[in-house]
């Protein structure tokens, strides 16, 4: 077996040193009735590298890969071009096969990268500080709601109807068990969000208001009024960003008064990967740092006075505080944070702004082209690289029919909001720099055929 260096001679020599007759002597503490006599029956034995690879190629071919077809899906996961050097660097063994940097003298590579990542995220979101990553956007969102509860000592969260329904579901799951109340609603196919409802709902019991920006239908609204009302009542504003590229074009939530900004960082560096692993981004105002979940990297000096980095403020964390920790998170998304950070470094501000501009321009072109199809209407007044169309019929079968024509043509709201009949004609279309003018044309032609 190619991953096992011990030879039988080694094994015998080692058993002799241990003073055991056979390997079974080392398993004496396992009760006999729980010991298996041999390899588990019915499971295949070992396989060569070639055989395993062949199995995976066969399965991989059964999937429609995004880059092989005109592709327009978004709703929390976006297809962007990832520069080749990103994947090269994250495969360096020194990054790939390192552990969490618990021994800082031999982990400065990871630690410096995390310090740079934290700074990039904080600046992108317009916040003072950011942590070293969470699992993904949806769990970061729940952690932010929990954090707002600890800060305000209140337990009512008001969720915008524009928050990704999976994020709402995760929050609902947790709230059921923590006793928090969630004030949530379904979106409607209208050009504006339900900010009026949010403003109404904020009161002296509210711990936080959670608003996605741009929202699940792609709409963009100023958060300032909600921030002001929340602060007036001692509540926090949590902004959720599922498409960080947007912040190369539109104002940062922190600039509009958000107290905590969380997001999904998958767009930069990480790739689609059928939903994971992704990288949760988590940033906030400096005064809340001791209530943050997750790891934090900080600057310090070594015994010779040289600058260095360490994990810090760990008295918030489970390995020190156990049941009093701010979160139970341990393993996070380190390597995805690295991928995000490399991609952001390659872009720089100039590249990020250019990328955002290209996304927006292509999305505008696509929206204009698709709404030329009879019966297709644009729901949004505002959008970045994602918008919602109202089709003249239910969108889910249309998406399937498009796939049969080899076009991956958006996310039907029926997939995300089953049984919400008001939404079933909604189709959310994302357009990034990877969509060409021909792709848009192919999509429009196929959609027209299916609808006619």
């Amino acid at each position: 077996m190619r991953y096992l260096p011990l030879t039988n001679t080694d094994r015998q020599a080692m058993l002799a040193v241990i003073g055991a007759k056979s390997i079974d002597d080392l398993f004496v503490d396992v009760p006999a009735e729980a010991q298996l006599a041999g390899p588990i029956a019915g499971l295949p034995n070992h396989a060569s590298e070639m055989a395993v690879e062949r199995h995976f190629s066969d399965l991989a071919r059964k999937n429609m890969a995004a880059s092989h077809h005109p592709f327009f899906l978004g709703c929390g996961a976006y297809k962007h071009h990832v520069p080749a050097s990103v994947d090269h660097i994250i495969q360096r063994g020194e990054f790939l096969t390192a552990y969490t940097p618990y021994q800082p003298e031999i982990a400065q590579g990871t630690l410096q990268m995390l310090f740079e990542f934290q700074t990039q995220v904080a600046r992108l979101f317009g916040c003072d500080v950011a942590n070293a990553s969470m699992y993904d956007g949806s769990t970061a969102c729940w952690e932010a709601i929990g954090m707002a509860g600890r800060i305000t000592k209140r337990h009512k969260a008001v969720l915008s109807s524009g928050l990704h329904p999976h994020y709402v579901s995760v929050a609902r799951t947790m709230a059921k068990y923590t006793g928090d109340t969630l004030d949530a609603a379904l979106p409607t196919l209208s050009p504006t969000t339900d900010s009026a409802r949010l403003l109404d709902a904020i009161d002296g019991e509210t711990s936080c208001v959670v608003v996605q920006y741009p929202d699940i239908l792609g709409r963009i609204e100023d958060l300032s009024a909600i921030a002001a009302k929340a602060h007036e009542h001692g509540a926090l504003l949590i902004a959720v960003v599922t498409e960080p590229v947007a912040l190369g074009a539109i104002k940062a939530p922190g600039e509009m008064g958000a107290d905590i900004v969380v997001g999904e960082g998958q767009s930069l560096g990480v790739g689609l990967q059928f939903g994971g692993p992704y990288v949760g981004l988590f940033a906030c105002k400096e005064k809340f740092v001791r209530q943050m979940p997750g790891r934090l990297c900080g600057e310090t000096v070594d015994a010779e006075g040289k600058r260095g980095f360490v994990l810090t403020l760990s008295t918030r964390e489970q390995h020190i505080r156990r049941e009093k920790a701010t979160s139970n998170i341990c393993t996070n998304s380190g390597l995805c944070a690295l991928a995000f950070s490399i991609h952001m470094t390659l872009l720089g501000e100039k590249g990020l702004r250019g990328l955002a501009q290209a996304n927006h321009a292509l999305a505008v072109q696509a929206a204009d082209r698709l709404t030329q199809i009879p019966g297709v209407e644009l729901v949004n007044d505002s959008f970045f690289n994602e918008f919602t169309l109202r089709l003249p019929k239910e969108a889910q079968p249309v998406v399937r029919a498009l796939a049969e024509k080899k076009v991956l043509g958006g996310v039907s709201l029926g997939r995300l909001y089953p049984k919400a009949t008001d939404l079933e004609n909604g189709l959310v279309v994302a357009v990034t720099e990877t969509s060409s003018a021909e792709d848009i044309e192919t999509f429009a032609t196929a959609l027209k055929e299916i609808l006619s």
Binding site: V28, H46, K62, N63, L124, T173, F274, C330, K350
Partner: protein, 523 residues
């Protein structure tokens, strides 16, 4: 002292041969210092070329971002060099022995990386129509079947994102099961030796946490546990093999007692590597157990993550498991049970734990590893892991205090304490001494039940020669600590950095980069 060159060539040392002159750059040959991107990049530099897209009238709702963001860019060559230089300041499995107890730092096969990057897995969107992702769903399902068979359990929840998230999944399933029978139990019992995530998880889900005492052998005290069980106890969280590296011999009796008292048994499966293919936790009566794919099943730790923590469930808890999950139909097609179809298919689910369907990129890697080893190879994995750990335990117990060595063989990891070191010398000094010897230190100060704990987990992917050299190095470092060698107190001497001031970092947290005042003034 350096070893003399056998060829007879003698380097010219000169009068100051032993003192290292300072260099102009601060670099020392291959040890290269690297500045922060904020110090070397500019907001006008970019390492990407973007498609030319004609201008359009903006529809951004009047929210254009006008202020500078402050994100520096680097060209591609500078980027590659920046991160390559940083990478060289990291220790990693690829470089050497990484015996971090409880973390299972085994070799990460590159085949796993290759298959995970196939376009059919890496480049599919989680919300594509299920007809277009049948191969991806097959991977999830095949891995699920392996995990169920290897653990002898009834079902598996694939979506948890890491071990701690898996713990949460198991605890929420327990909570949902109790709620379904109208039983408001509020206490979870956890041994003191447990990983911090166990009590943190139980508390996160709204339970209060109480300690289970241990015996002098380092195992759960069954009698004390039985005495504490009662109508308020929702369940226990037991790590098996435990964090002292011992198999909980009474596991079946523990499960039976907990069940008899109306509770559920959560098993922390972080240490599954010791028993995979030889013991099925399902035979020991447990109700839920997470499996860290990033430990037992070789997916890379990536400097802190990502992981993946599928949770196997008993028949009693399976109905409450989370959404979504895959289903294989008689005709070989796969479907996803999500919110859309859950009403009929899985009405008691406690709900969703994350967006989308879990850590697909880890599933491909883990399945690639599992298929490579197969049922026979996985059994050999457990045996070699346990053999390597016992070899270390018996080779070092004469030099170091091994508090549970008398309890019998260890499983996959060997636990030592700081007992016997010279006054003022600690476990931390041993760890830093090992860094100079070219090793990543073992886990230190965990578990909490042993003073100055040193937990050594070699894994099965290390050769005897590697272990022998490590044992020699460990003996040497421990002898220095026993003899009170002051140079050990200031170790490491040869790492990119000397000991770092953690107190300063916590007292004055600097979590993001700020331009120095001089630089701001100069602008």
């Amino acid at each position: 002292m350096s070893v003399l060159n056998q060829s007879g060539w003698k380097p010219e040392m000169g009068p100051s041969g032993d003192t290292k002159p300072a260099t102009f750059t601060g670099n020392r040959a291959l040890m290269l210092e690297e500045a922060l991107i904020f110090e070397i990049g500019t907001t006008d530099t970019t390492g990407v070329d973007l498609p030319e897209v004609g201008g359009v009238a903006s529809r951004l709702g009047g929210l254009e971002r006008n202020r500078t963001i402050g994100l520096p860019g680097l060209s591609e060559p500078e980027t590659v060099r920046h991160y390559t230089r940083l990478s060289r300041q990291n220790y990693a499995i690829d470089l050497g022995f990484f015996p971090l107890g409880s973390c299972t730092m085994k070799h990460n096969p590159r085949l796993n990386e290759k298959v995970a990057r196939m376009a059919g897995f890496a480049d599919v969107h989680p919300l594509q129509p299920v007809e277009t992702v049948q191969g991806a769903l097959a991977v999830i399902n095949e891995l699920a079947v392996w995990l169920i068979e290897l653990t002898g359990m009834h079902g598996v929840a694939m979506t948890p994102k890491a071990g701690a998230h898996g713990e949460l999944c198991g605890i929420l399933a327990i909570k949902a099961a109790l709620e379904a029978r109208g039983d408001p139990r509020s206490v979870i019992l956890v041994p003191e030796s447990a990983h911090g995530t166990n009590p943190a998880t139980a508390a996160f889900a709204g339970f209060s946490v109480e300690n289970i005492p241990a015996t002098s052998e380092g195992r759960v005290d069954l009698d004390a546990l039985k005495a504490r069980l009662g109508p308020d106890v929702a369940g226990v969280m037991i790590t098996n093999p435990n964090t002292c590296g011992l198999f909980e011999r009474d596991m079946k009796a523990i499960s039976d007692a907990v069940h008899a008292a109306g509770g559920y048994v959560y098993c922390d499966g972080a240490n599954f590597n010791a028993i995979v293919g030889r013991v099925r936790p399902g035979d020991l009566g447990i109700d839920a157990m997470h499996i860290n794919l990033h430990k037992t099943f070789s997916t890379p730790h990536g400097g802190g993550g990502p992981g993946s923590g599928p949770v196997v469930l008993s028949e009693a808890l399976s109905p409450y498991g989370p959404l979504p999950f895959t289903e294989r139909h008689a005709d070989g097609r796969y479907s996803l049970v999500e919110e859309e179809t859950v009403g009929e298919r899985h009405p008691h689910s406690f709900g969703r734990m994350t967006a989308f369907h879990g850590q697909m990129g880890m599933f491909t890697r883990a399945l690639s590893y599992i298929m490579s080893h197969g049922a026979d190879g996985l059994r050999q994995v457990a045996e070699d892991a346990v053999l390597n750990a016992n070899y270390i335990l018996r080779s070092l117990e004469g030099t170091m205090d091994a508090p549970f060595a008398h309890s019998g063989p260890c499983m996959h990891e060997a636990l030592f304490s700081d007992n016997g070191l010279a006054d003022g010398f600690t476990t931390l000094d041993i760890a830093k001494g090992l860094i100079d010897e070219g090793y990543h230190p073992m886990t230190v100060y965990f578990p909490l039940v042993v003073h100055g704990a040193m937990l050594i987990e070699p894994t099965e992917t290390e050769s005897k020669a590697t272990l022998d050299q490590f044992i020699g190095a460990m003996r040497s470092v421990v002898q220095r600590a026993k003899a009170g060698d002051p140079s050990l107190k200031s170790a490491p001497h040869h790492a990119p950095r000397r000991r770092l001031d953690e107190t300063l970092a916590a007292r004055k947290p600097m979590l993001v980069w700020h331009e120095t005042e001089e630089a701001v003034a100069a602008e």
